[in-house]
């Protein structure tokens, strides 16, 4: 479960990115976060994986208050969270398998379990047959699938995705969305910032629209758009 209470975020340069947000996202929900560029979407997402800390207010994720989380505990918190980015954030020198296994390596998982689990998630994203290839040898959609595989390899309860289809063509975007649907169907909460109107209006889920650092609209099975 994710809960934000009276969250404000003001950057040192004086810009107020988040101007009082209260929201609650239940376990297993699929939520789109929409809004124009500069609305505070990115800050909202970044606060969820504790890249940014709110100036005031509380953010509770899986029972952890991120506003008060000590630096030392951040790695532990992130192990229970999957994050997917627009630019994939893969390591170009590692193979597909190694990129996914990486997330298990840092938690010092058993090699046997690691192998089994990595192949499992690669199977889920349909890349088992390309495990030995380098990310640069794959298409954008395939690279994003690796990144998704990496984000769920630790079986997190929540997956945060920041414009995961932003760099992909429409057809590939649908493939990626299907994978997210599949992950969501298994009980994982998904929070996805997106600009893709077609996707939001076709695969209907809760839509949170942010503008000027505030939530201007919050609808179950909503439509794309952030006008009042």
């Amino acid at each position: 479960m994710i809960e934000l209470q009276e969250v404000y975020k003001k950057y040192p340069n004086g810009v107020t990115a988040i101007n009082g947000i209260d929201v609650r996202i239940n376990q297993g929900e699929f939520v789109y976060v929409v809004g124009p560029s500069g609305a505070g979407k990115s800050t909202f997402i970044k606060m969820m994986y504790r890249e940014e800390v709110p100036t005031s207010g509380t953010i509770t994720m899986n029972g952890v208050n991120l506003a008060k989380l000590k630096m030392k505990k951040v790695p532990l918190f992130r192990r229970n969270l999957g994050v997917v980015f627009q630019d994939f954030k893969l390591l170009p020198t590692l193979t597909v398998y190694e990129n996914v296994a990486f997330a298990l390596e840092v938690i010092e998982a058993q090699p046997k379990y690691m192998k089994k689990r990595v192949m499992e998630v690669l199977d889920l994203v349909n890349l088992k047959h390309k495990a030995r290839m380098l990310p640069t040898e794959l298409s954008g959609g395939e690279q994003q699938r690796i990144s998704i595989a990496r984000s769920i390899v630790n079986s997190p309860k929540i997956v945060i995705a920041d414009e995961p289809t932003g760099n992909l063509d429409p057809e590939t975007s649908w493939e990626i969305m299907n994978i997210f649907e599949e992950i969501n169907n298994r009980g994982t909460t998904i929070v996805m910032a997106t600009h893709n109107r077609e996707i939001v209006n076709t695969i209907r889920h809760r839509v949170i629209a942010i503008e000027g650092g505030k939530i201007v609209r919050d609808e179950q099975r909503g439509e794309y758009g952030y006008e009042n």
Partner: protein, 297 residues
């Protein structure tokens, strides 16, 4: 940390050394140049130290006894000197012995002094050694004021000048070594920083998937260690060869002289140990310093 993880870190560090070929070369060269200089200074310093020690051990006070003193007075004087806390030993040397020493030390010219064997103008002498060479001056002065002592000499001037010279070169050597050490740390931390900047993405991703700081730091730590150790190889080989040859050349010429060079074995092993250790320290310190900045995300 599990051993398996340590193995992973070691593998990663080797991979990175290979991958960053030119940077590795630059870092290793920085360490190499520094350690050659450090090694040379170290060798010179240790040898100066040895010379200083030999001289220190050799410093003695020659107490000239008044000819008017009889055996009884001499005994009294000796026990008076021996009672001083700073004194290590008091040895008696008769004027006949003194003359023989003199004749010997003058070589062929010494034969001329043989004439004095009939009528010896020298004094009987107490040779006094202090426990701590630094006390020589003070003790010599004290003894000089005692009864039946005509003169109390200790090679004033020469010894002091020598001590001062050695002391000064030792300090300069230490200052240079410390200066070089920090220069090398700075150089290596900069070169490693460049490799890290290239890998900032990697560090960021590691942090995103929940790697702890120490997990991220280890490969860099090991990389610094290997770079430092690699950088110490050439200096060790160079200095070992140079020292071996210098020793072979100098040692025979210095036989019987108070200046002695330290024997190749074990000195060269000690120097090698010091250089490896310094290389490792430079490498580790340099890398730790540069990673720290990137772990604050």
């Amino acid at each position: 940390m599990k051993i398996r993880t340590l193995g992973r870190h070691a593998r990663e560090s080797f991979k990175s050394i290979g991958r960053n070929g030119w940077m590795t070369f630059a870092s290793v060269s920085a360490v190499t140049v520094t350690l050659i200089l450090v090694g040379v200074f170290f060798v010179i310093m240790m040898n100066l130290n040895k010379v200083a020690q030999t001289i220190e051990e050799d410093v003695q006070i020659r107490v000239h006894i008044d000819v008017a003193a009889n055996a009884e007075d001499q005994k009294k004087l000796q026990s008076q000197i021996e009672r001083m806390a700073e004194v290590k030993s008091v040895e008696f040397s008769s004027k006949e012995e003194e003359l023989q020493v003199l004749i010997k030390s003058m070589g062929e010219d010494g034969q001329a002094f043989k004439l004095f064997e009939q009528d010896n103008p020298l004094n009987d002498v107490f040779i006094v050694k202090t426990k701590n060479p630094q006390d020589t001056m003070k003790i010599a002065e004290k003894i000089g004021k005692m009864e039946y002592v005509t003169k109390s000499v200790y090679g004033k001037g020469t010894v002091e000048k020598l001590f001062n010279f050695i002391e000064a070169s030792r300090n300069v050597g230490i200052a240079l070594i410390i200066g070089l050490f920090f220069t090398a740390v700075f150089l290596i931390s900069n070169t490693i920083k460049i490799t890290i900047i290239a890998r900032r993405r990697e560090i960021k991703i590691m942090r995103l998937v929940g790697a702890t700081n120490s997990f991220i730091r280890w490969p860099f730590f090991l990389e610094g260690l290997w770079l430092g150790i690699l950088g110490s190889i050439i200096p060790i080989v160079l200095i070992a060869i140079a020292y071996y040859n210098a020793y072979e050349f100098l040692a025979p010429k210095l036989v019987g002289n108070f200046i002695q060079v330290l024997p190749v074995n074990p000195f060269i092993y000690q120097v090698s140990g010091v250089l490896i250790l310094m290389g490792a320290l430079i490498g580790v310190w340099g890398s730790v310093m540069s990673v720290r900045k990137f772990l604050k995300v």
